[in-house]
């Protein structure tokens, strides 16, 4: 529901909001530009009387002096019957330049508040502001749910690609956007009479004036008492009309000034409502608050990107969801599949399971978990496939499952199996699946097979689970999940460097360049010169082996700016994809695509970074060092087998040490005289490591699972005196792993 509340209005208004926010961001520059162009005297330095006196010496035909919100002073005058307006110095009253309101800004303002469509457009813009409020609030609630509570909002966010960009930007901009949208809605509601306008008590023109000989404006007491910083405007009397008066409007109120006696007449302080309204206007426009204007402008600029990523997230969801075909009736089904899904990915797996079971001759009914029936008359087996949302919560299609389970009657002695889907990087990996598994057990159902947890849609893991289930059921079937094929790029191997043959660890550094056009559906629309998407070291290159099996992923050691895709591949015994890659010669081509992996990146800032890896895991780490042109302290601990044979990147690392992109290098070789592992090297340097972590260092680990476990243990020991553990560092985004 919340997601719908966020997604649907967002889709509808994305385009209009983009226009409104870009124009808004441009307008937001105006206060800062005005402010930068003007010298503002200190408070108390210049009174209105003094300034007016100076102005009239330069402009005898002065009609009106206006002080803008940014402190600029404009004089409107007549000279030889011709009207004129000049920007003048607030100190001397001398003209600086003719004042001409910028046609560009006037047009932009018109675009911003009425889309150039007069009243109808104003109304539309007002509605847009209200929708924006709705989007901000529903978006924040979604983000809270996703990050497992309000505190989670301040922590590093997880996720990748469009979702990550969307949430990161939204978190940055939401306060500014909410302020703009609320004040905008307020002003619009007021204009169209939905909110009362403050009643402005206008001072009534004095019936009696002294009528004496006009005194010089600089000598008028009422004007001497007003500091220039409080002035809004001063309108001069008609020249020669001794019955006329000065009209004075200040920050606090308005009144008239007798041109002979200098007395303040009929003064009316501004009403509270009017002061409030002025604040709303200032908070929306940044008038007089140039810094706020810039903040609001920057926030507004995120909206076009939020719109684009939002639409793309919606499209992806839409694409991976789909109707269930050939669903058996609940009452007839032998097997029930229940799906808990937030982003619709899980449905793809459920469809494959349903199809395979059907082929094996079963009547299968598949529905969302929320549709759990009171009982299933014919069913003997129940499969629950579910993801987890945020911090261990139920995903969208499973939110009512636990409550419904209370009323469920297990009449037919159902056997069940739960399959969880998630991402190991989340602290509560597949937590909801765990909870469901336990709940079904408590309900008295028998486990057909114990809970299995699939990491990041791993198709191989899913197939394996299928094999186990098939065994348990005694029915032959296989599960092959094929995610929607990503748009691939043809990559040509340009160069490779082979290491480690002598130590039975053949590892190659391979460099590819993009050649052919994209094969995805967008190729016809987007034929770009370079068909490679943007990527950075630490992102993943998905490689599809020739027989069309599921893609394998390799960490990239290069960035798009290097013009090449560099990966480091260790040939696994019997490895299908690594074997294929190792068989390539220069000039051979492969099909690949980029998967973003923004979680695995060194943090910005000047804290030290400790890179730890073994074997081919050095790839992305070497990429990070290569990019460290800011020369932040960076230390590499790397483990290989033998310095003579598999010292990957040896020449490059030497160069990086020389030009200080790499601060320190410690290598461990397990098949040398030393016989040490990388964790032993960490222990040797434990004092230094502890000091760096204490000072805020970040740790990035890349390599095999065994190495990662050893490193984690070593670091737990090293950090114990600091009363900090790896879990804490992880939660702070200071301990990142890319492990395989």
């Amino acid at each position: 529901m919340l997601r719908r509340l966020h997604g649907l209005p967002g889709l509808l208004v994305a385009l209009i909001l983009t226009v409104l926010t870009i124009s808004g961001a441009i307008l937001a520059l105006a206060p800062a530009m005005d402010r930068a162009a003007v010298m503002i005297p200190a408070a108390g330095e210049v009174s209105v009387a003094e300034l007016a006196g100076r102005v009239v010496t330069h402009y005898p035909g002065t009609e009106q002096i206006v002080r803008g919100a940014s402190g600029e002073v404009i004089v409107y005058y007549y000279r030889d019957g011709q009207p004129g307006a000049d920007l003048v110095s607030p100190l001397t009253g001398e003209g600086i330049a003719p004042f001409e309101p910028s046609v560009f800004f006037i047009w932009m303002k018109d675009l911003h508040r009425s889309l150039l469509l007069d009243n109808a457009g104003r109304m539309l813009a007002g509605v847009m502001a209200a929708v924006m409020v709705l989007l901000c609030i529903s978006g924040v609630l979604l983000l809270v749910r996703r990050s497992g509570g309000w505190k989670g909002l301040l922590k590093p966010l997880t996720g990748s690609g469009g979702t990550r960009i969307h949430t990161e930007l939204a978190r940055f901009a939401v306060l500014g956007l909410l302020l703009s949208a609320l004040t905008g809605s307020y002003m619009s509601a007021q204009r169209f009479g939905l909110l009362p306008e403050p009643i402005e008590a206008e001072p009534i023109f004095p019936a009696e004036v002294s009528g004496g000989q006009p005194a010089p404006v600089a000598s008028l007491n009422a004007l001497k008492n007003v500091d220039l910083s409080d002035l809004h405007e001063l309108v001069f009397p008609y020249q020669g009309d001794i019955q006329d008066v000065y009209s004075l409007t200040t920050r606090e109120g308005a009144g008239f000034v007798d041109q002979a006696s200098g007395e303040l007449l009929k003064y009316q302080p501004r009403s509270k409502g009017s002061v409030f309204q002025q604040w709303m206007v200032s908070l929306h426009t940044g008038e007089g608050l140039w810094w706020l204007g810039l903040i609001l402008g920057a926030s507004a600029l995120t909206v076009p990107v939020l719109s684009l990523t939002g639409v793309s997230i919606w499209w992806q969801r839409r694409r991976s969801s789909g109707l269930m075909l050939d669903n058996a009736d609940v009452a007839q089904a032998d097997i029930i599949i229940l799906v808990g899904s937030e982003g619709n990915t899980t449905w793809g797996f459920a469809r494959e399971l349903q199809a395979s079971l059907k082929k094996a001759g079963f009547q299968v009914h598949c529905s969302e978990m929320n549709a759990l029936a009171d009982h299933y008359p014919q069913a003997s087996m129940l499969f629950v496939l579910t993801s987890t949302y945020g911090d261990g919560d139920a995903p969208g299609t499973a939110q009512r499952f636990m409550t419904k389970l209370n009323d469920f009657e297990n009449k037919k002695a159902l056997k069940y199996a739960v399959l969880g889907f998630g991402d190991r990087q989340f602290p509560k990996f597949c937590q909801f699946a765990v909870d469901v598994d336990v709940a079904l057990d408590k309900k008295g159902l028998a486990r057909l097979y114990s809970l299995e947890r699939i990491d990041r849609c791993n198709a191989a893991q899913f197939s394996e689970w299928g094999d186990r289930i098939s065994e348990q059921m005694g029915v032959p079937f296989t599960l092959t999940y094929e995610p929607l094929p990503p748009a691939t790029v043809t990559l040509e191997l340009v160069e490779r460097a082979d290491y480690g043959l002598a130590v039975q660890a053949p590892t190659s550094i391979m460099r590819f360049k993009a050649t052919g056009a994209k094969q995805g559906r967008w190729s016809t629309f987007l034929s770009r010169k370079s068909s490679l998407p943007l990527f950075e070291a630490g992102d993943l290159l998905g490689v599809i082996p020739p027989n069309g099996q599921t893609a394998r992923f390799y960490s990239l050691a290069s960035s798009d700016s290097d013009g090449l895709l560099e990966i480091c591949v260790r040939r696994q015994p019997g490895g299908l994809c690594s074997g294929y890659l190792h068989g390539l010669k220069s000039g051979d081509s492969i099909n690949g695509f980029i998967r973003h992996n923004p979680e695995f990146r060194p943090a910005m800032g000047s804290h030290a970074t400790i890179l730890i890896g073994a074997g081919a895991g050095i790839g992305p780490l070497a990429g990070f060092i290569r990019r460290n042109t800011a020369r932040n302290p960076m230390y590499l601990y790397w483990g290989g087998r033998n310095a003579e044979s598999d010292f990957l990147y040896q020449p490059e690392l030497g160069n990086y040490l020389n030009d200080r992109r790499l601060t320190g290098l410690s290598t461990a070789f397990s098949q040398s005289d030393q016989r040490v592992y990388v964790q032993d090297k960490l222990r040797q340097d434990q004092i230094a490591v502890r000091r760096m972590v204490d000072a805020g260092a970040q740790i990035l680990v890349c390599g095999g699972r065994g190495m990662a476990a050893g490193v984690k243990q070593a670091l737990e020991d090293i950090l114990r005196p600091l009363a900090i553990d790896v879990a804490t560092l992880k939660s702070q985004g200071r301990y990142l792993e890319d492990v395989y």
Partner: protein, 160 residues
């Protein structure tokens, strides 16, 4: 592109406001106001009658519907005291840059050639105010003669 607006009425209101004799004869007068291309938002205008000394006598027409901006039409605001009774039923939409406004009003015959003046104050958001953008005597002689304004008004004329 010209936009022609017209308005009728007024004879009773104005006659009573000016305390004219009961036997007064009405005459239809057409006022034509053409705006300059000043490039800003819609202009607010107050068209009013003043005596030879410039003292306010009565409101003829106000263009612009938000009364909170009326104080910027300062000559008229001063004379009318911004009393709603003075302009009730005599208001219309603000006048966009470059447009023309035509208003038909029934004026008392006795007002013509009697030393009265037609004055117009103008104001535009974020731009300057012009009180007395136009001030022309209400005489049979000046009728049909276009007059240039000194502010946002390109030309003004009235036809008896």
């Amino acid at each position: 592109m010209k936009q022609i607006l017209s308005a009728v009425g007024l004879v009773i209101a104005l006659a009573s406001a000016l305390a004219m004799p009961a036997f007064a004869q009405a005459r239809e007068v057409t006022f034509t106001i053409e705006m300059k291309n000043y490039g800003g938002d819609g202009a607010y205008l107050a068209l009013y009658l003043a005596d030879g000394e410039g003292q306010y006598q009565g409101t003829l027409w106000v263009a612009g519907e938000k009364s909170k901006y009326y104080s910027h039409l300062s000559g008229w605001a001063r004379g009318s005291g911004l009393n709603a009774v003075e302009y009730d039923g005599l208001t219309g939409a603000s006048l966009a840059s470059g447009r023309t406004l035509k208003i038909n009003l029934d004026l008392d015959d006795a007002l013509i050639d009697s030393g009265y003046e037609i004055r117009i104050d103008t104001a535009v958001e974020d731009m300057r105010d012009h009180s007395d953008d136009i001030a022309v005597p209400l005489t049979s002689e000046s009728a049909g003669q276009p007059q240039a304004g000194r502010g946002y008004i390109q030309s003004f004329q009235y036809d008896l």
